[in-house]
């Protein structure tokens, strides 16, 4: 039997100066970096760094459904496969996908489906593959966020983007965007996703305990910071089109120059 260094929790999740252990304020996001189009073979792809989380998402589709009997005559199907690398967590994960991964896959699919027009693609499927290379709390929110970007990158018509963030309670204080250690040692963690076209909640999970007041405050707090996530997603997509435009206009100039000769 392997002996593992014990993964002890700290006694407190706040430093003496009142900051969280990673130096953040209660309402401060971890650093976030997003990119699209990072996997050349995919129809759409995106990469996300969110704190120490490092996640790739790729979209393939619309394409033929395998196995065939899953196809639906009246609409396309969306399938999400969330997986974690063995080395993405403290104790090596077993390579085969576990129950947790299957469950998160289902949750992410439920969360993205409302923004798609699946009825336009009868008999076909969209596959979204999410690969978590490094994990540090909030991977399901990060996965939803990066998967939405990958769908957009694939040029698939969408009602809106989807953004997600976790809010929670650590050492009795409400915070946003819980890190791995905060998630494990804290009292509450609510991952929340929003579909922007109707500004409704498409993911909501919670385990812990809270009274109604707390719940209401959590929801309002999440809504505020979901907007920040959304803005980063939009900027990422814009900068892609700006790059494309520059490239196109450069090509055009080059052609114009050629034409001049």
């Amino acid at each position: 039997m392997p002996l593992i260094i014990k993964d002890e929790y700290p006694e407190t999740l706040f430093r003496e100066d009142g900051k969280r252990l990673d130096g953040r304020d209660n309402n401060e996001l971890r650093p976030i970096k997003m990119e699209v189009g990072i996997i050349k073979n995919a129809d759409g792809s995106a990469y996300l760094e969110w704190g120490n989380n490092k996640i790739f998402a790729a979209v393939y589709g619309p394409r033929e459904v395998h196995p065939h009997h899953l196809a639906k005559p009246d609409k396309g199907i969306l399938r999400v496969f969330y997986r974690m690398a063995t080395f993405s967590v403290f104790d090596r994960k077993r390579p085969a996908p576990g129950r947790r991964e299957k469950e998160i896959s289902m949750i992410v699919a439920d969360c993205l489906e409302p923004v798609l027009f699946l009825e336009l693609y009868p008999g076909t499927s969209f596959e979204v593959f999410i690969e978590v290379m490094d994990a540090d709390g909030g991977t399901r929110c990060a996965s939803i966020t990066v998967a939405a970007l990958a769908l957009a990158d694939a040029g698939i018509p969408m009602k809106s983007l989807v953004s997600a963030i976790a809010v929670g309670k650590i050492d009795g204080k409400k915070v946003i965007d819980l890190s791995g250690i905060e998630d494990k040692a804290g009292e509450a963690d609510l991952p929340i996703a929003i579909t922007w076209y109707n500004e409704e909640i498409s993911l909501l999970q919670f385990d812990g305990d809270m009274d109604l007041n707390e719940m209401n405050e959590f929801l309002d707090l999440a809504k505020e910071f979901l907007k920040s996530i959304h803005n980063i997603q939009l900027d990422t997509l814009k900068s892609k089109y700006i790059k494309l435009q520059e490239k196109t206009s450069k090509n055009k100039k080059d052609e114009d120059k050629k034409g001049d000769k």
Partner: protein
Amino acid sequence: MMDVKRIISKIEKDYIISNLRKEERIDNRGLWEYREFRIKSDIISSAEGSADVSLGDTRIITGLKYEVGEPFPDLPNEGVCTVMAELLPIASPLFERGPPDEQSIELARVVDRGIRHADCVQTKKLCIKENEAVYILFVDMYVINYDGNLIDAGGVSALTTLISAHIPEGIMGDNGLEWTGKYLTGEIIVNELPLVLTYGKIDDIIFLDPSLPEELVCDGKISISATEDKITSIQKSGAATFSIDEIKMLGNKTLEIGSKLRKKLNLLQYLSKIE
């Protein structure tokens, strides 16, 4: 959410929805009304606790087995309680043989979380000797007939099973584990009585305890577990989305309806009489 929407005809779907719009349901319930719960406990002689729970025509039989094993290194004085669910193929033509599918994983997970996070099972009472021996409880749910809303039926079924528990009491003597002849019962093991309430949503209509036809046509569901005054677990499933105001309203409803249901079911009547 099971992938069986195709089996409900368009006509039936429209009928269900148009009724719901009028705040009427196909089985004549109100929007916030449960079907009837019928509960029998300690029905399995081979199990150390069991329950046979029907919610309308949905029926789940749950049994408790235990093993004695080593505790997790980071929780040296706590036992373990796991929940498993199987959607038996006897229960519906919609269920297939084979390894647990998404719906059974979801059922087990949501019921498990309701129990785990509500401080329901006193895992410290399941310790025989710190670092050495603890009870591992297996709460295994089998769906016998499926008529919608497995989660709420499963929640009551798992809870009743734990309440009806009668596990041989062991102590660590000089020659290893010895049995005292007494029993750990639900009285010792179960602390809180969390209930899970599931709401369906179609378009903008929300309703409690979806029956099978409602479940098959609805956009999605949300399950909220609560004790007398706390929300202890939330799980949204399916492609429905809920406005923030709707969720706040449902939190409220859950405490209110849950409290009434807890009184009505009076689950502590199923405590094992063994000592």
